[in-house]
């Protein structure tokens, strides 16, 4: 049982970090970022290249992943989303754009890094074994790092000036603009931070599960689920959603193991029922 809880917490910390990026982008721009999973994969491959191929320290690789993705996110917002949002009659058009960007990133990743899955050398060796729980040290480190990044992100949103501006934007775009917030600039920063988080998790997890080019779509789907559980556009909701999904997955894999591979089917059906009762998730805003 303790083992299941530890696994769930570890998974949850990763998931929460992915969901945070997605929910931030959604809160600021009302864009459902289909390409989030692909950004995660790209971050993974950059860390793989820098740490696994060039043999630079893991920290350098993580920083490289984060910065590359942040720049990419900023460019995507400035040149693609902003243009389409301005020209389109219906704001759903951004979904088409996001899906197209997901295609594009998938294609680029496939061409540059190939179809094969890749792993990197472990960042820490050894296993913690207390009798009740068995967990490798590198998982503990990655889990703790994820928790630290979540805390840092929350502090950034809560106390820094850009963070405050972005919270204002999420609350009411027009009012924020009237109060002198530079909407274009903070939308771009927000998208960059969201993409940065995706790249960061991708880089962190490559040390545990490796990375391969086709997994972006399923990561996006999982991120959507977490956001739905917690409520779209709410920081606390994304974190709660991430940990809940992590726990469900850990518990499901143990409890439902006997019935075959149905963990996700059960989670999905449960989610549908949950959303029927609470359409906006745990903490979501009442509008869509």
């Amino acid at each position: 049982m303790e083992q299941v809880i530890v696994n769930g917490l570890y998974l949850g910390a990763q998931y929460a970090l992915i969901a945070l990026g997605l929910t931030l982008i959604f809160a600021l721009m009302n864009v459902l970022n289909f390409a989030h999973g692909q950004m995660y994969v790209l971050g993974g491959f950059i860390t793989y290249t820098v740490y696994g191929q060039l043999h630079l320290p893991f920290v350098v690789a993580l920083i490289a992943s984060s910065i590359t993705l942040a720049i990419l996110g900023a460019l995507i917002e400035k040149f693609l989303f902003r243009t389409v949002i301005r020209r389109s009659k219906r704001e759903e058009s951004t979904m088409l754009l996001a899906a197209a960007i997901a295609f594009l990133l998938d294609a680029v990743i496939l061409i540059v890094f190939g179809e094969k899955g890749h792993g990197v050398p472990k960042i820490l060796n050894g296993v913690l074994n207390t009798g009740a729980i068995i967990i490798p040290y590198d998982r503990i480190l990655v889990g703790c790092l994820a928790a630290v990044f979540i805390a840092a992100f929350m502090a950034f949103m809560q106390f820094s000036k850009p963070g405050r501006a972005m919270r204002a934007l999420a609350q009411d775009r027009q009012a924020a603009q009237l109060m002198g917030v530079n909407v274009d600039r903070y939308s771009m920063i927000g998208f960059a931070v969201g993409a940065l988080l995706a790249g960061l998790v991708g880089g962190l997890l490559v040390s545990i599960v490796g990375v391969s080019s086709g997994i972006g779509g399923s990561i996006s789907t999982k991120a959507f689920m977490m956001v739905m559980i917690g409520g779209a556009g709410v920081v606390g909701g994304a974190i709660a959603g991430g940990f809940i999904l992590g726990m469900l997955e850990a518990v499901g894999l143990t409890v439902l193991h006997a019935y075959g591979d149905i963990t996700y089917l059960v989670i999905f059906v449960g989610l549908m029922i949950f959303l029927a009762i609470r359409p906006n998730g745990l903490m979501g805003k009442p509008w869509g």
Binding site: A100, F103, V227, A232, D261, V269, M272, W287, G288
Partner: protein
């Protein structure tokens, strides 16, 4: 456009699809194109369903789930219960619509991205259910489905047995093209009916519509059930053409593609999904020459189109009309 012009356009479309294309393909010997065109016709039927949900202001990324359900319903009825394929087409549509009503009752209360995300997840649910349920034959799926049988009233054979044909490509093409024409005719009528106006009211403002005495919950269900009916029909015919259905026959990717077809053609135009499917599918097939760069070029073109024509290809028509009006 005047009514006679519209009628002429519709007739021209029917003649082109049912006469000109088959003649052109058989004289040039490009029989391989039949399959592509058949696929386009079927995918545009499913996309038309997605378009209907757009028309009431909902983003539907779950059509692949209903196409998968339709495919399985048809395959199971034909193989395990010995039904005629022709009867399974409406049956597949009805089962899909019934499931849509069941799922739609709770989830149609959701709006915007919430609805979009739930429908996206439902595609995955359908795939996992197809893998887990005993009735769907699990991961192996169902293959070697028999070709559609004949339809005859007494001595008069309306549709010959597909198994007796040397080349079924033309027959399947005609089946899909006629289905597509019927579906788009139906959607066109629907949009220009009283119900269609009510759908627009839902798209613009649900609360306002409700305050005028419109039963919005019922209308939403009708639209979603109709949309899923089309998905089921397309899935059923697809399973007959490919003679198989697997849990991966329709995936999340297909759901997203159906949505893209609608966007690309133009959400404000009934024939948008047809044009969008044609352009995307033909474009994708043409790009197969580019081998590993296929997906890259496709994505870049898609993004470029989005930047230039964010309201769909058919919005070009609107632009010309507006210029002419000036």
């Amino acid at each position: 456009m005047s009514n006679s012009l519209k009628l002429a356009g519709a007739l021209a479309l029917i003649v082109v699809l049912l006469v000109v294309v088959p003649v052109a393909l058989s004289t040039t010997g490009r029989n391989d194109l039949y399959y592509t065109l058949t696929l386009i016709a079927l995918l545009s039927v499913a996309s038309a369903g997605v378009w209907i949900t757009f028309y009431i202001g909902r983003i539907n990324i779950g059509q692949a789930a209903y196409a998968l359900i339709g495919g399985y319903v048809s395959a199971i009825l034909v193989v395990d219960y010995g039904w005629s394929f022709w009867l399974t087409i409406p049956a597949a549509g009805v089962v899909s619509a019934a499931i849509a009503i069941l799922i739609g009752l709770p989830i149609l209360r959701l709006r915007g991205v919430y609805f979009a995300m739930v429908t996206l997840v439902s595609t995955e649910v359908a795939r996992l259910a197809a893998l887990a349920l005993p009735i769907t034959h699990g991961a192996r799926g169902m293959s070697n489905l028999p070709p559609p049988g004949p339809i005859a009233i007494g001595p008069l054979t309306l549709i010959p047995d597909f198994a007796s044909m040397a080349d079924t490509h033309l027959a399947f093409y005609l089946l899909s093209a006629i289905t597509m024409l019927a579906v788009f005719g139906l959607v066109y009528r629907l949009v220009h009916s009283r119900l269609g106006r009510l759908f627009v009211a839902l798209q613009q403002n649900e609360e306002l519509a409700a305050s005028m005495g419109v039963n919005i919950a019922r209308l939403r269900i009708i639209a979603y059930a109709f949309s899923s009916f089309l998905g089921g029909v397309a899935g059923a015919i697809f399973s007959a053409i490919s003679q198989s259905v697997y849990p991966n026959s329709f995936t999340t990717q297909d759901s997203i593609n159906f949505m893209l077809n609608c966007f690309l053609g133009g959400l404000g135009y009934v024939f948008g999904p047809m044009l969008g499917t044609l352009v995307l599918q033909l474009g994708w097939n043409l790009l197969s020459e580019a081998a590993i760069y296929q997906e890259l070029i496709y994505a870049i073109v898609l993004i470029a189109l989005m930047l230039v024509l964010p309201n769909g290809i058919l919005s070009l028509l609107g632009m010309r009309a507006r210029k002419a009006a000036r």
